[in-house]
């Protein structure tokens, strides 16, 4: 069924900056069904009254003139909503629904993930509360698989309320968290700050890419900036107005770095995930700008020195750059090894997916590697090299469809000594977990022919637990690591291997294309261990970890403001550290 619904281009304040811009666009999603609320198979809007807690009647969906074409009862009015009309409950409900759905569609596109999207913990529906209460807040809550958007006074002289559900980037950002949690759930249980910072940075970039997806906004921003973005904050700022008086929360157009020799204002030492996310977000925003500038030149051809031509091609170039970055980020999440990962792991996953998609186009990957080195995410670009396109004897006689469809076949494969070596499983490890295999069919547009190339892959992940000493306690820490294999469906060729396993002599045969990586990864893993220690201490020193039953309320639900510590026979592990994402921002 199809429906026509309004969506906020950015937020109500955008008309202050662009008076000529209509802040509302139309959106035509197609779903199996739409019910009042709106409610669809994967999303349900639940508008509780902030005053009484009662459920406010959801927007009514009525049958349209055409068969299978549905619309909201008031949709035509709402589509043209002006001024305070956007604060009507029905508009809030429908616009929030539309923004979430549009963000999901962005990923469901076969040019991006190439598979269906599921929520974390197998939850069927994402429950969305557009008016969750009065405070400066919005968050994804894993335990209830919900998005909760709050409202707060603007802080300027008016009595204006800021409804966070009307902020396209806030809604996309929080939807991004829910999507990331569905794709790479281990990030939410991160034992080090990079996992959470990655969550946050990808949510920021999700918001960025939905903004770029708006034709009207894209046109007006590029016109204002003569087709350039390097000095503009129009797309790069996150949550404009969050701090009141139109001040934003973060800016992706930044020079933040992990390099201690950076200027003081750019050096990020903090283990707090919101501070740290700016480094990764800034690096990937620069990648976007690089692709954008490069594509403009390609499209302009011999006219590349003509500002007018460059301006005229900028819209197409920006869409191209955004699509390429989207592919990198979300496919990389699918390729990411299970367990505790770092920015460098994510960098390798990006390099891997881009290599698989565009084997000949090395230029942008070189830029990514340099950008990650420049921001001190890796010490040397060699650390980001990845093993791609190789055969392995254990996969030659195996039907990939069996590996995907049969747990027995998958575990049998993993039990072979040579496969264990391929998967970087140390000989000392007894128990491993093979995750549900992903059957992925995705499209990549060939740059030369402009035609789609279809690839069919199995993404195979295996994880296991490692242990390490902790400096400030007699207890050991338990953390998960693992390996991802991307396998070509028809041939069994390994398209990419990515692992975060501690390295030893038994598991290095396949993992590195470059032998110089051994010492670099050694150092990287030592730093990661330190990072886990610092992260644990950061939480522990603030009394934010509760163990066992202390982490639960009397009904057995997870406490909101504490991280759940697990202590199994003196071996500790953090569960749900992702709660930090919504806790620390509230200070």
């Amino acid at each position: 069924m199809k429906i026509r619904i309004p969506i906020m281009i950015q937020d109500p304040s955008i008309t202050t900056r662009y008076p000529e811009l209509d802040p509302i666009e139309g959106f035509d999603p197609v779903e199996d069904y739409f019910l009042d609320g709106p409610v669809s198979e994967q999303i349900a809007i639940l508008d509780f009254s902030p005053e009484t807690g009662e459920l406010v009647k959801g927007a009514k969906i009525v049958k349209g003139k055409k068969r299978g074409n549905y619309r909201s009862a008031k949709i035509e009015d709402l589509r043209k909503a002006k001024g305070n009309e956007v604060y009507e409950p029905e508009f809030l409900q429908v616009s929030t629904f539309a923004t979430i759905l549009k963000t999901m569609y962005m990923l469901k596109d076969e040019h991006i993930l190439g598979r269906s999207i599921t929520w974390a913990n197998g939850s069927p529906q994402l429950l969305v509360i557009p008016r969750a209460g009065k405070e400066r807040n919005a968050f994804y809550h894993r335990d209830s698989n919900s998005l909760q958007f709050f409202m707060f006074p603007s802080g300027d002289d008016s009595e204006r309320m800021v409804y966070t559900c009307l902020y396209r980037d806030v809604v996309s950002h929080e939807t991004g968290h829910a999507l990331v949690d569905g794709i790479a759930p281990d990030l939410f249980d991160a034992q080090n700050p990079d996992g959470l910072a990655m969550h946050e940075a990808i949510a920021d970039l999700t918001a960025l890419m939905t903004a770029i997806g708006s034709h009207n906004l894209r046109r007006i921003v590029l016109d204002k900036n003569d087709g350039k973005l390097d000095n503009s904050t129009d797309f790069s700022t996150i949550a404009d107005d969050w701090r009141g008086k139109f001040k934003s929360l973060r800016d992706l157009n930044n020079e933040k770095s992990l390099d201690p020799s950076s200027p003081k204002e750019n050096y990020v030492k903090d283990t707090e995930c919101h501070a740290r996310c700016e480094v990764l977000g800034g690096a990937l925003y620069n990648v976007l700008l690089e692709i954008f500038e490069d594509k403009k030149k390609t499209l302009a051809g011999p006219e590349k020195n003509d500002p007018k031509t460059m301006h005229s091609v900028s819209g197409g170039a920006l869409v191209f750059a955004s699509d390429r970055l989207k592919q990198m980020i979300f496919r990389a999440l699918d390729y990411l090894a299970p367990g505790d990962v770092s920015f460098a792991d994510f960098g390798r996953a990006i390099v891997a997916v881009d290599t698989v998609a565009y084997p000949k186009d090395q230029q942008i990957r070189d830029f990514i590697k340099q950008e990650f080195r420049r921001r001190y995410i890796v010490k040397d670009v060699i650390a980001l090299e990845v093993s791609t396109f190789f055969d392995h004897e254990d996969l030659k006689g195996i039907k990939v469809s069996n590996l995907v469809g049969s747990d027995w076949a998958a575990y049998n494969f993993v039990s072979q000594p040579s496969a264990r070596s391929l998967l970087c499983i140390p000989t000392t490890v007894k128990a491993v977990e093979v995750l549900p295999r992903l059957d992925v069919t995705k499209k990549t547009t060939d740059a030369e022919t402009n035609e789609d190339v279809v690839s069919h892959e199995c993404i195979f992940k295996v994880g296991w637990d490692e242990e390490e000493d902790t400096p400030n306690s007699s207890k050991k820490r338990r953390f998960k690591v693992g390996t991802t294999l991307a396998i070509e469906w028809e041939t069994g060729k390994i398209l990419a291997l990515l692992t975060n396993a501690p390295q030893d002599e038994t598991n290095t045969k396949y993992r590195y294309p470059n032998e110089k990586q051994f010492s670099l990864i050694d150092e990287e893993q030592r730093k990661r261990r330190e990072s886990r220690n610092e992260f644990y201490d950061y939480l522990d020193n603030r009394g934010l970890i509760k163990f066992g039953k202390n982490a639960l309320d009397p009904e057995g639900l997870e406490l909101f403001s504490f991280i759940h510590g697990e202590d199994l026979d003196g071996k500790i592990r953090l569960r749900g550290s992702g709660k930090m994402l919504h806790m620390m921002e509230r200070e």
Partner: protein, 417 residues
């Protein structure tokens, strides 16, 4: 041989500690000194105020008609303030001999934020405290509504709610509140000898001691840091206030059904997660605990640490301020809860794993464990087994809750003069 005695009373879930020692006064004469710390318990745990009269009578017996030198109220929680007023109402007043006539108190110290105009002097703390008070007010409405339902509320929530209710007349057959108990404590000494203390407060001549020294390690004068915003979870309690048409005059829980197409299990789980009153009661409780007076009594080279109910945030601040020292006695904070004893790296500074000298190291636990008591009357996970084990490994642990209600145990320190 000089002797110091710490007498801990089993007042069920609460504290009542009397320190008695001798010292030389300004003229060099031997004098006996007595410090009483907190007398109180939780009404619902152990459930009884009957325990207080015999405890107070024993204290008066120790004093033998002499005044109490110093009364210290660590913080404004019922399990630390209730006892004196209870005993007065239950026994002494009835006998026509008000307790205040018998328990003459030379000096009284209360935690800094108990001062009546405290929040007017500390606007930052006031702002944060108001947010916590507002959360409590909302929870109060919810609990009153939830109590009327067949399901009621879990006893853990009931206990926390009650212990943090400051103004309502909930105690002693609904005639007395926590505020009344604190007011009673304020009246123990003359106004000019009643002080609201914190780290850095100039103790000067605000106590009677000569040789014995007292250092206050906590709380901070400005209590803002004990009220971090991130601890208060957003709540949607789903309470409908009575309307003119409604037949009831009390708030009721809003009944909500899932709309069409919404998975019912997920919907009700969402409602439950939004009713985060337990999270917020914990935060409110924690904040008040962290205002506890933590003080170190130094006597003949021995250091004795009394902690009230200080929790991690307070320990962290004490550590950051560099006040921590190795001690010979530790009153285990917050009844042996996991959040009352500092983490290893901080505990190491006050009670190191390796004993540094041959001086004694003793500790006291005052709690109300499940063993031997009714499960519905105790807090889950209090005391925390691992926490108690750590204290026991590092010191000789005295457990007052193993005594019968109203009885006491003595911890003795003796030194050559």
């Amino acid at each position: 041989m000089a002797k110091l005695r710490i007498r801990a009373y089993n007042v069920l879930f609460g504290d009542a500690i009397l320190i008695s020692f001798s010292e030389k006064d300004e003229k060099g004469s031997d004098v006996n000194r007595n410090i009483l710390i907190d007398v109180g318990n939780l009404s619902r745990i152990g459930g009884s105020s009957e325990v207080f009269p015999p405890v107070i009578e024993n204290i008066l017996e120790v004093l033998s008609g002499n005044p109490l030198d110093l009364y210290i109220m660590t913080h404004e929680h019922m399990d630390h303030v209730k006892g004196l007023l209870s005993a007065n109402n239950m026994l002494f007043k009835k006998k026509g001999e008000p307790l205040s006539e018998k328990l003459k108190t030379r000096y009284t110290w209360l935690t800094g934020s108990a001062e009546k105009n405290y929040y007017e002097k500390h606007p930052d703390a006031k702002k944060k405290k108001l947010a916590f008070d507002e959360a409590y007010k909302r929870i109060d409405g919810y609990i009153n509504a939830a109590k009327a339902t067949p399901e009621g509320i879990p006893k853990t929530i009931d206990n926390l709610w009650l212990n943090n209710n400051y103004s309502e007349k909930l105690l002693l057959d609904n005639s007395t509140s926590t505020a009344d108990c604190v007011d009673y404590i304020r009246s123990l000494s003359l106004p000019e000898n009643t002080f609201y203390v914190y780290r850095g407060f100039d103790l000067g001549d605000h106590h009677p001691f000569g040789e014995a020294k007292i250092e206050i390690w906590a709380p901070e004068e400005d209590t803002s840091d004990y009220y971090p915003a991130h601890r208060l979870a957003p709540m949607a309690l789903g309470v409908t206030n009575p309307s003119e048409e409604s037949k009831t005059d009390r708030p009721t829980l809003t009944e909500i059904l899932p709309p069409a197409g919404v998975y019912a299990g997920a919907f009700y789980r969402l409602l439950r997660t939004r009713r985060r009153c337990y999270d917020n009661l914990l935060a409110i409780d924690k904040a008040a605990n962290n205002t506890s007076i933590v003080f170190c009594l130094e006597w003949h080279g021995l250091k004795l640490l009394f902690t009230g109910d200080a929790e991690e945030d307070s320990w962290e601040i004490m550590n950051n301020k560099g006040v921590l020292k190795q001690v010979n006695f530790l009153k285990t904070s917050h009844h042996g809860s996991v959040n009352g004893t500092p983490k290893d790296r901080i505990l190491e500074k006050i009670l190191p794993k390796v004993k540094p000298d041959d001086k004694p190291r003793k500790s006291l636990l005052s709690t109300y464990p499940e063993i031997g008591n009714k499960k519905e009357e105790v807090y889950d996970n209090v005391p925390d087994g691992a926490t108690v084990d750590i204290i026991r490994e590092r010191s000789e642990l005295y457990e007052v809750h193993k005594k019968n209600p109203g009885e006491y145990l003595d911890i003795i320190f003796e030194v050559e003069e």
